[in-house]
Symmetry: C2
Subunit: 735 residues, 2 copies
C-alpha cells in the first residue's frame, strides 16, 4: 500500500506491474477475516447472467452510443483449470473510448508500437562488454564538456591563469579515483542495486534518502539538458550555419528521445554499444595523433592567444573552476544503480565494469586536458574545445567529422540514460509513497509514461530557459550530483559501522574519504557558483524534500483511514488503535467519517429529485422503487403556483411515491436540495441516503452546452455529505 515508509521497500529494485496492487500485510488479512466474519449474508440470490460469459458467444454490434470498441475481447484465461474464474482482456479491450481518441490511438500505435503484455517485462542480464558502454555513456560523455567547463572559468582571469588547469585536473583525477573506489565498495554491500536514494534512505533515514532523491531528480533533468546542449553544440561547431536553430533542434531531439522511450527502447541495449565504443576510439585516436604531433615538436606547448583578464585570480575563481571541472564525474554512480542487471556473479562483474569505466574516464579526461594545454587552445563561443582540438589535430580528412559525430551520439545516449533512470527513481519513490502513485503505472508499452513525460517536459523548460547554452547550465549541474554522491557515501559509512563485518573500519574510512571529498566539492559548487545559478538547486532541493514528505504524509493518512479494522464487537480492543487526536466531529484525524459497516446494518432511504415528469424522471422513479426500499421524491418549485401544479400532476400519475415539494423563492436548485438532504441526514444520521438522479446522455458535445447539467452540479454538492450515495440513471437520447 502506498502508505508505507521507505523502509518497507528495501526489497530491491525489481520493477513489477503489480506494484500498483501491493499485497495485504498479515495484520490486514487478519482484520479482513474478522470483518468478513461479521457479515451476515443469507444465501445470495442467483446471478441472472453467467459472469464468465461462457455461454455467451455472440458478439454484439456496436451500439449507437458505444464510444467503446465492439467486444469479443474476453476469453477464459489460457491454461486455467475448468470452472476457474479468470478472464483475460484481449489487446483491444484497452481501446480508447471516443472517435477522436481512437484516431489519436492509431497515431500513437504507429509511433509507439502495439501494447506489450505484462509478461514481457525484461529481466535482461548484461555481459560486461555490453554493460560497459550502456552504463558509461553518461560518465564518458562528460569529457566532452568537462575540461571546457574548467577552462571557461580559468580564462576569466586571463590566458596566464590557464596553466592552473594542470594541477586542478590532477586534483580532479584524484577525486575520480577516490569516488570510484568508494563506489566499488558500495556495490557488494547493495547487490540489489544501490541508488543513492535507497542507500541514503536506508542508512541515514528517510529525509536523507529524499534529499538524495531530490538531488538525483535535478541531476537527471540537467543530464538531459546539458547533454543535449553539448551535443547540439558539437553539431553547430562542425556546421556553424545551424547555430540559429540550436534551441529548436535541441527541443526536437528531446522530443525524439521521449518518443523512443515511450516506445520502450529497453531491448535496444546493443544499440548503445557502437556509439560509446566509437566515441572512446575516436577520442583515443585523437589523443594518439595529438601526442605524436606534440612529440614532433618536443612536447613544447603552443602559446595560447592572449586573453585579457576580466576577473582577478582569487581562491573563489579557482574553486569555481574546480567545481565546474567536476561535472566530468557525472554518471559515475550508474553502475551501482544497475547491479542486478549484470550476469552472475553480479556484484563482481559490476565492480570490474566500474573499475574499467573510471580508468577510461581518467585516461580520456587527463589526456584531453593535457593535450588542450599543449595545443594552446582557449574556450571561445561558437565552437567547443573538443572541436577546436580535433580541427587542429586532423586538419584534413574525415577524422574531424568522426570525432564530432561520435561526440554528438554519445551525448544523446547520455541524455537517454536519464530517461531510463528518472522514471525508475520515481517508481521507487511512488512505491514508498513519496511520489504520486501514477508513477507506479506501467503503460501499455511497459514504459513509465508519466515519468518520461515529466522528465522531458522539465528538461525542455530548463533547456529553453537557459537558451541551450552548456556553460550556463554547468553551475546548476554539479550541486545535485555531488549532493547525491555525498549522501550515498555517508550512508555507506553508517552502513559499515552498523554491520561491523570484517575490515569494516577500512571500508568505512574509504567511503568516509569519498564522502568528505564529495562534500567539499558540493560545498564548493554551492558557494562558489551560488550566484551563477547554483542557488536554483540550493532552493529547489529542500522544497522538493518538503513536497515528497507532504505527499508521503497524505498517502499514510489515507492508508490509515482506509485500513480495515475489526468491528467494535470484536474481542480485539479497537480503542488501543485510536489516537488521541480526535477532530471536532469526534472522528480521529486520519480516519474516514463513515464507520465500519456490514450489509445487515445498513438502513436505506432512497430520494429522487424530480424536476419535471418525463421519461427520464419516470425511469429514475421506477429504478428507485424497484430497489424495494423506502422512497421519497422531492420537487423544487420556484413559486407556490408551480408547486401546486406539480402536485396535481403527481396525483394524476397515481401518487405512487411520497412527494415532498420545496419552494425555492430565490430560484436556486442545487443549494436548497443539498441542504434538504443534509437536514434529512442530520435528522437520521444512521440512514444511508441514496439519491437517484436521472442523467440525459447526449451524443454531441455542443448539445451539452444547451443544458444546465443540474445533475452534475448536484453530484458535486452532495460529495461533501457523509452517507449520501449518488446513483446516476442514464437516459440515452438518439439524434
Amino acid at each position: 500500500m502506498a502508505g508505507r515508509s521507505a523502509d518497507d521497500d528495501r526489497s530491491g529494485t525489481v520493477v513489477t506491474p503489480s506494484a500498483e496492487f501491493p499485497p495485504l500485510t498479515p495484520a490486514e488479512v487478519d482484520a479482513l477475516r474478522r470483518v468478513g466474519a461479521h457479515w451476515r449474508v443469507g444465501a445470495p440470490p442467483a446471478l441472472p447472467v453467467d459472469p464468465t460469459l461462457d455461454r455467451y458467444r455472440n458478439h454484439p454490434a456496436p451500439g449507437r452510443f458505444s464510444r467503446l470498441a465492439p467486444i469479443a475481447l474476453f476469453r477464459p484465461a489460457p491454461g486455467a483449470p475448468a470452472g476457474r474464474d479468470g478472464l483475460v482482456a484481449a489487446e483491444r479491450a484497452d481501446q480508447p473510448d471516443s472517435p477522436l481518441d481512437r484516431r489519436l490511438g492509431r497515431v500513437r500505435r504507429v509511433l509507439l508500437g502495439p501494447p506489450l503484455a505484462s509478461a514481457a517485462v525484461l529481466h535482461e542480464r548484461m555481459r560486461k562488454l555490453v554493460a560497459l558502454p550502456v552504463l558509461s555513456s553518461d560518465l564518458l560523455s562528460s569529457v566532452a564538456y568537462g575540461p571546457e567547463a574548467l577552462l571557461t572559468v580559468l580564462v576569466l582571469a586571463g590566458s596566464g591563469a590557464l596553466g592552473l588547469a594542470l594541477p586542478l585536473s590532477a586534483g580532479l583525477v584524484l577525486l575520480m579515483v577516490a569516488v570510484g573506489i568508494s563506489y566499488r565498495q558500495t556495490i557488494p554491500a547493495y547487490p540489489h542495486g544501490a541508488g543513492s536514494y535507497l542507500v541514503a534512505g536506508d542508512s541515514l533515514g528517510v529525509r536523507a534518502g529524499l534529499t538524495a532523491a531530490a538531488g538525483l531528480m535535478l541531476d537527471y533533468v540537467l543530464t538531459v539538458s546539458v547533454s543535449i546542449a553539448a551535443g547540439v553544440h558539437a553539431i553547430t561547431s562542425a556546421l556553424p550555419g545551424l547555430t540559429p536553430f540550436a534551441v529548436p533542434l535541441g527541443v526536437l531531439v528531446i522530443l525524439l528521445l521521449l518518443a523512443g522511450n515511450l516506445r520502450g527502447v529497453r531491448a535496444a541495449g546493443n544499440l548503445f554499444v557502437l556509439p560509446t565504443y566509437a566515441f572512446v576510439a575516436a577520442v583515443l585516436g585523437l589523443l594518439v595523433v595529438g601526442y605524436l604531433r606534440a612529440a614532433g615538436r618536443g612536447f613544447a606547448s603552443v602559446a595560447p592567444p592572449v586573453v585579457p583578464a576580466t576577473q582577478g585570480l582569487g581562491l573563489l575563481l579557482v574553486l569555481r573552476a574546480f567545481a565546474s571541472g567536476a561535472v566530468s564525474m557525472t554518471g559515475i554512480e550508474a553502475v551501482s544503480n544497475a547491479v542486478p542487471a549484470f550476469r552472475t556473479p553480479e556484484w563482481r562483474n559490476a565492480r570490474t565494469t566500474l573499475t574499467w569505466m573510471v580508468a577510461m574516464l581518467v585516461v580520456l579526461f587527463a589526456g584531453l586536458t593535457l593535450l588542450i594545454h599543449l595545443a594552446g587552445l582557449v574556450p571561445r563561443p561558437g565552437e567547443t574545445l573538443l572541436s577546436q582540438l580535433a580541427r587542429v589535430t586532423f586538419p584534413t580528412g574525415p577524422w574531424y567529422a568522426v570525432v564530432q559525430v561520435t561526440t554528438a551520439l554519445i551525448l544523446l545516449l547520455a541524455a537517454n540514460t536519464a530517461f531510463n533512470d528518472f522514471p525508475r527513481l520515481l517508481f521507487f519513490m511512488a512505491r514508498a509513497g513519496h511520489a504520486p502513485r501514477r508513477f507506479l503505472h506501467l503503460g501499455d508499452r511497459l514504459a513509465f509514461g508519466n515519468g518520461l513525460v515529466a522528465l522531458a517536459a522539465t528538461a525542455i523548460v530548463v533547456f529553453v530557459a537557459f537558451g541551450g547554452h552548456t556553460e550556463k547550465l554547468i553551475p546548476l549541474y554539479a550541486v545535485g550530483v555531488f549532493l547525491a554522491f555525498t549522501l550515498s557515501q555517508s550512508g555507506m559509512v553508517v552502513h559499515w559501522r552498523r554491520h561491523r563485518g570484517g575490515g569494516w573500519r577500512r571500508r568505512a574510512l574509504v567511503n568516509g574519504v569519498g564522502a568528505v571529498l564529495s562534500g567539499l566539492v558540493l560545498l564548493t559548487a554551492a558557494v562558489a557558483k551560488f550566484t551563477e545559478g547554483a542557488w536554483v538547486v540550493v532552493v529547489a532541493v529542500p522544497l522538493l524534500v518538503l513536497l515528497f514528505a507532504r505527499i508521503h504524509r497524505h498517502y499514510r493518512t489515507l492508508h490509515a483511514a482506509l485500513a480495515l479494522r475489526p468491528p467494535p464487537a470484536d474481542p480485539a480492543p479497537p480503542a488501543a488503535a485510536r489516537g488521541p487526536a480526535a477532530g471536532p466531529s469526534g472522528v480521529p484525524a486520519g480516519r474516514s467519517v463513515e464507520g465500519e459497516e456490514v450489509p445487515q446494518e445498513l438502513r436505506h432511504l432512497v430520494v429522487v429529485p424530480v424536476v419535471r415528469l418525463n421519461r427520464a424522471s419516470m425511469r429514475a422513479l421506477a429504478y428507485a422503487v424497484s430497489l424495494g426500499r423506502p422512497t421519497l421524491a422531492v420537487h423544487l418549485a420556484p413559486e407556490d403556483a408551480e408547486a401546486d401544479r406539480f402536485r396535481e400532476q403527481w396525483r394524476a400519475w397515481g401518487d405512487h411515491v411520497r412527494l415532498e415539494t420545496i419552494v425555492s423563492p430565490y430560484r436556486a436548485v442545487v443549494g436548497p436540495l443539498a441542504h434538504y438532504l443534509e437536514a434529512l441526514h442530520a435528522a437520521a444520521p444512521d440512514l444511508v441516503l441514496t439519491v437517484v438522479v436521472p442523467e440525459v446522455v447526449l451524443r454531441r458535445p455542443w448539445h451539452r452546452l444547451l443544458h444546465s447539467r443540474t445533475g452534475q452540479r448536484l453530484r458535486r454538492a452532495l460529495r461533501a455529505l457523509p452517507g449520501v450515495v449518488v446513483t446516476t440513471v442514464p437516459v440515452h437520447v438518439l439524434e
Copy 2:
C-alpha cells in the same frame, strides 16, 4: 417544455420564474396517467424519517466536510394548511458551497444586493410621462450621432456635396413618419407586445421570426457599442485630454451597466425621466438659440471650410449617406415591444406615446441638421458635430457643458435599453426552444444574468475591435435594425390580410409602405456599406438563424425522446406515434434507447469493481449486498500472480460475494472493465446493471492530483452504455 414551436408561445410577453418548469399539456397528463396505471407497487415501506423535518428542530453543526452552510433553512410554507407538503427554502439555502465561493458571494452581495424572492417580479405600469423618457432614450439619443453619420459620408465628396444633406434629411423625415405610422398600427394589433421576433414569427413563419431575432440581437449589441462610443466621444469632445483613454473608459462604462443591471435596475424607471427630458430640453435650447443667432444674420448660411473631395459624388455615395443617416431611427420599435407596461388602456397610451416620440425625433433631427448646415459645420475627428454646434452656439457660459453632459447621459440610457431588451428577447427565444434554456433562468436578483453577461461580453468585444470609433460601427448598425423593421412591417401586412377586420386594406397599405421603405433602406445599407463592415451582419444573420434552428431541433428531439408515452400494453396504438426513421439498433431517431419501464419489470444485477480490499471497497460491497439483489464483484489484475493473490484474500474475507477476476495484461483498468460490463449487458440486455463504485473524497484539491481518479474515468466510460446505472459510494477521509 422547451420543445415547442414559437407558435405555442403567443401567450404574450409575461416573464415568469416558472418558465423553466412549463406545465404538461393535456396529452402529456393523459400519458402520465396511463403510465401510472401500469405501476404495480405494493404498500410502500414506511419512511424511516419524517420528510417534512417537522419533528426535527436541532440544527446540526457544520460537518468537517460540509462545504455547505449549516442549515436551519427550512420552515413549513407560511399559511400552508396543516399537514400539507410544502417547505420553503430560506434565503441562505441558496448559499454557495466553498469558502472561496462564499467570499465571492459576499462581494457579490455588496455589489448586487440581497436575493429577491420570486414574488417580487414587478408588473409595473407606466404613466405616459414616465414611459416617454424610459422608452425614447434609445430613439432620441440617435440624433447625437445620426446627422453626423450622414454628413461624414457626404463630406467624402468634398464640402460642395454638403448641400445634399438637406434633401436627404427631408427623405429621412418622411421615412421616420412612415415607419412611425406603420408601428402605430402594430400596437393595437399586438396588445401583449409586438416585438419584431413575435410579429414576424407569428405572421411570416418561424424562419422570419428567427431572422428578425438575429437582426435584433445584433442591433442590441451594436446599440450598446455605438451608444457608448458616442457617449465617450461626447465626453472626449469636451475634455480632449481623455481621448487616449476612450477605449478603457468605454469598457468600464459597459461593465458598470452590466453590474447595475445584474443588480436589477428595473425599479429605477424614474431615474430615466430626468436625463431624457434634460437632453431634449438642452437640444431644444440649442436649437432656439441657434436659430435666433441665424435669424440675426438673416438665415445666411456660413460657408463651410473647404474640404477636398476624396471620392466622386456618385449614387452609391448618396445612398451610403442616406443609410448612415437612417441610424437616427434606431429605437423607434421600443414602444411596440412594451405595450403591456402602459397603464390601461394600454394600446391607446402606447400609441400616443409613440406619436410624441416620433414628433420629437423629427423636430430634433430636422432642426439639428438644418442648424448644422446654417452654421457651416463639417464633421472632423476628435470632436462631435453636436459638440461643435454647441460650442458655436454657446461660446461662453455653462450651456456647452450642459449639452455635452446630457448627451452623454442619454446615450448611457440608450445603451441601458439594450440591457433590458436583449435578455428578454433571449428569454422568449429560450421559451420557444430557440436559445439555450439557461436564458430562462431568473437569477436571485430577478435579472436574466446569463443574457446580461452575454450582451456585455459581446458588446465589449465589438467596442474594442472597432477601437471605440462611432463612425466605424455605424455601417454595421443600420442593417440589423432595418432587417427587423422590414420583417415586422411585412408581418403586419400578412396579419391584416389574414384577419380582414374593418379597413384592413388601408392598414395593410400603411404597413406595406413602411415595409417597402424599410426594405429599401435595408438593401441600401447592406449593398452600399457592404465592404465597410455591413458584410459582418450579412454573414452573421444567416449563421445565427441556422444556429437557432439547430438549437430548436435539438430541444424538439429531446422533448420527443423524453415525452411520456402510454405503455405498449395500453389500448392506445403506440405504433402510430413511431416514425419510420429507425436507427440501426432498431430505435427510431428522437427516441431514447431505454424503453418504458415500470418498477415491477426491472431485473437487477449489482456489480462492484474492487481494486483492493480496504475500507472503501468494503463499504461499496456492503452497500451493494444490502440492496438484496444479485451481486457480482469484479477484480482487474495486471498479471496472473496478482489475480491469484487477490482470490486468496477474497477467500480469507469469507467469499461473501461471487468474484470474477479479469487479467488485464496491458495494465489498462477502465477499458477492460467497461468492455466487460458491455459484454454482460449484451448477454442479458433486459438486466439493469448497477455499478457500485467507491469514491474517496478528499478535502484538499492538491491531494486529488495524487490519485488517478479511476472512479471518474470509469463513470465517463460507462455513461455511453445503456441500462448501466452508476452508484457512487463516498468515503470521506479527514486530515
